[in-house]
């Protein structure tokens, strides 16, 4: 069985005839047809808590070390660096399709809050899909990407950053970079709210006019995701908050630290989530993440 990257079953090349008809129908002048056969590709994500769809205002019992009842307040994260893995193990980078809202050429924002109820400070629109183009007709068996914003675009001022890197809510002050993951929740023990904000730390603050190359951040904190096998035509990337929060005590905060984890390598509240993200923490080296997994979508095809 050869995985195919087409989601619709259409031939994986452009049909100039049909395109011309559509162009004429829309009254567009200057449509152009790409010479290289490329095919659109959608990578779909689903957020859940132990099989329950994630939604603002719902309460999810039994999460984390203290089996907490968790209310969602915000959940958004950036993904970038998409590659498809060929049968021979070679990697083909995917170009994302910029849409002025959810994706630039390199980075996409996944947004699982709709600004309602306890998610009030979020945005009404949601996004659970990454749109890319891939070379047509090539079989692939796996998917690679990073959770986070590439270093090259991570430290620019917000007003200089194209969507989706222009959100204040996902920015960590002027120089330190973006929050790669923003997860805000409330529990019985922390009713005013608790937050997990994951991003690069140990990034030198640089004066705006500095011509010096920026030194690398001490902890880049970009979880690397490897999904094998993965077939975009039939598979989803599933994000399970219960897996992400496994081992975290969601009822108490370590004294004198942010509530709960702002990626501080010395904040013990960060240890379990860093473990689940496969990120190094303290003396512990990087290992395999358990945050995201591939799942064959139900009710798909015969």
């Amino acid at each position: 069985m050869e995985p195919r990257i087409l989601s619709s079953g259409e031939p994986g090349r452009w049909s100039p005839g049909l395109a011309a008809v559509l162009c004429a129908a829309l009254g567009l002048i200057g449509c152009s047809f790409p010479a290289v056969a490329q095919t659109p590709l959608e990578i779909r994500f689903r957020a859940e808590v132990q099989g329950q769809p994630l939604a603002c205002g719902k309460i999810y019992p039994g999460v984390g070390r203290a089996r907490s009842a968790v209310t969602l307040k915000d959940f958004r994260f950036y993904v970038s660096g998409f590659r498809l893995v060929g049968a021979d193990g070679s990697e083909t980078p995917l170009a994302l399709v910029p849409d002025g809202k959810w994706q630039s050429e390199t980075t996409a924002l996944l947004d699982f809050e709709d600004g309602s109820g306890p998610c009030r400070n979020g945005t009404p629109d949601m996004n659970d899909v990454v749109r890319a183009v891939a070379p047509a007709g090539k079989p692939f068996r796996g998917l690679r990407f990073s959770v986070g914003v590439p270093e090259a675009g991570n430290h620019a001022d917000l007003t200089e950053s194209a969507p989706p890197l222009d959100l204040v809510a996902l920015f960590w002050s002027w120089n330190a970079g973006h929050k790669f993951i923003r997860l805000d929740i409330a529990t019985k023990g922390l009713p005013q709210g608790a937050a997990f904000h994951i991003g690069s730390t140990g990034c030198a603050l640089q004066s705006p006019g500095s011509s010096q190359p920026r030194p690398p951040c001490k902890s880049p904190n970009r979880p690397e995701i490897r999904l094998d096998p993965f077939d975009p035509a039939s598979d989803l990337v599933v994000v399970d908050l219960a897996s992400l929060l496994a081992g975290s005590d969601l009822e108490h905060n370590a004294p004198g630290s942010p509530v709960l984890c702002m990626s501080d390598p010395e904040d013990l509240d960060c240890a379990p989530i860093f473990h689940n993200l496969g990120l190094p923490f303290g003396q512990r080296p990087a290992w395999t993440q358990t945050f995201l997994r591939a799942e064959r979508a139900a009710h798909k095809g015969p």
């Binding site: 567009l28 002048i29 659109p40 001022d157």
Partner: protein
Amino acid sequence: MTVFSGKSLRPAIFAAVVCLGFVFAPEGYAHRDKGAPLSARQIRNPLKSTPENLARGQELYLRLCAACHGADGTAKTEKARTLAEPPLDFTDTLIDYLSDGEIFWDASNGVAPVMPPAAKDVSETERFQIVLWIRELKRKAVDATFGLPPGFPRPKTPEDNPVTPAKVELGRHLFYDKRLSGNGTQSCASCHQQRLAFTDGRTLAVGSTGQTHPRQAMSLVNVAYSPVLTWANPNLRRLESQALVPLFGEHPVEMGLPTSEPRLVAQLSADPVYVRLFRAAFPLDSIDILHITMALASFERTIISGRSPYDRYRFQHQDDAISASAKRGEELFSSERLECFHCHGGFNFTGTVDYAGKSAPEIEFHNTGLYNLAGAISYPPGNTGLYEFTRDTADVGKFKAPTLRNIEVTAPYFHDGSARTLDDVITHYEKGGRRITSGPLAGNGADNPNRSEFIKPFHLSKQERADLIAFLLSLTDKSLLTDERFSDPWPQVAPPANTAANRP
């Protein structure tokens, strides 16, 4: 390439909406019977505003169009004065009602009897390049009207009320005119004073009849970037609508205009200054409240502050524009220890922000732990913030984080003016909330169930506190406080001794 995606019908739907839109275009702009026919609307400009297209468009424009319309598009040329009908001002509002196709058609065919078919001898591509340059002239004029500081994004403005210099000038006159209050004692500027960054220095605002407002006057600085207006209203999104609140509001009375509207319109209509300003700003024969609010909103949108020492440091890369202490303060402000940036992030130092080209408006309301009264409604009655609109107890005490720009001159602080100095504000956040030990407001704000999780106790050394304040003071834009563009345009005359002044 998007033609193939599932969204391929969107352009068609959009085109259909546009088609419907121009059929119902404002009557004042539908009289161009001598210009492009309706079908010209459907001519699409196939070109994009690339530097190459704009450069070629500018070159052709200067050769073919500028003699009448002017190099800057304002049509203030020698030749224009000799014509029976004035040439179109490409920087004015009317151009927004013409499609690229109509401008293309007019340039190709002329508009009898005055305008010749100036571009008929150049190629279609070149004519579209001219159209792009004419659009660029409008953008340049709008940017000049805003006087955008370096690094600042272009504000979003309503499509039905684009900013023009004429509207701004009219709005400035209205803003400083006491005739806009019922008893002639207050103008907008009474509570929004330029020298105080458009605040009034009072704990709580006081209206024209002496009623005290439950909250203090907000700074108008950079209000063009705010997708929601006032302290906690999630529904008030247009400055045009917001202006009606102080003008006509009765609970409390602010400017107290409800019964004086005919008097106001009659007075303004009889004033030659307004006859001239209204005629320049709007294609109207009479003055009404709608257009008063449109002009006020246009003026307010130009009150942009971005020339503080911190801006010179941040956006113009002048490393010595702020002190080492202020730089340390910026680092503290941006730290997870203090968490200030969580609610006061971004170029306008508030999480509630929007501008042209932004992926989505961001709107946030936070409870900062000021109060924790007994019972579910834990904030003082009449001042419960977002709850007043949503009636959701989870929203009690939630207010919009104001911009911190010019915070040095906007004391006292918080929605109810309950902190006198910046030092008091820092102490409040240092404690993670305010404890009031006695009286009707007794309670520990830190324990308020809605208190933001980003507000938690910290301790600052004496030096750190000085650094943080140095950073906050680096946000003061002295030019804004004296800029003539925002100052009172009326001649300063001493009022007669025993009657209310007509003007400030």
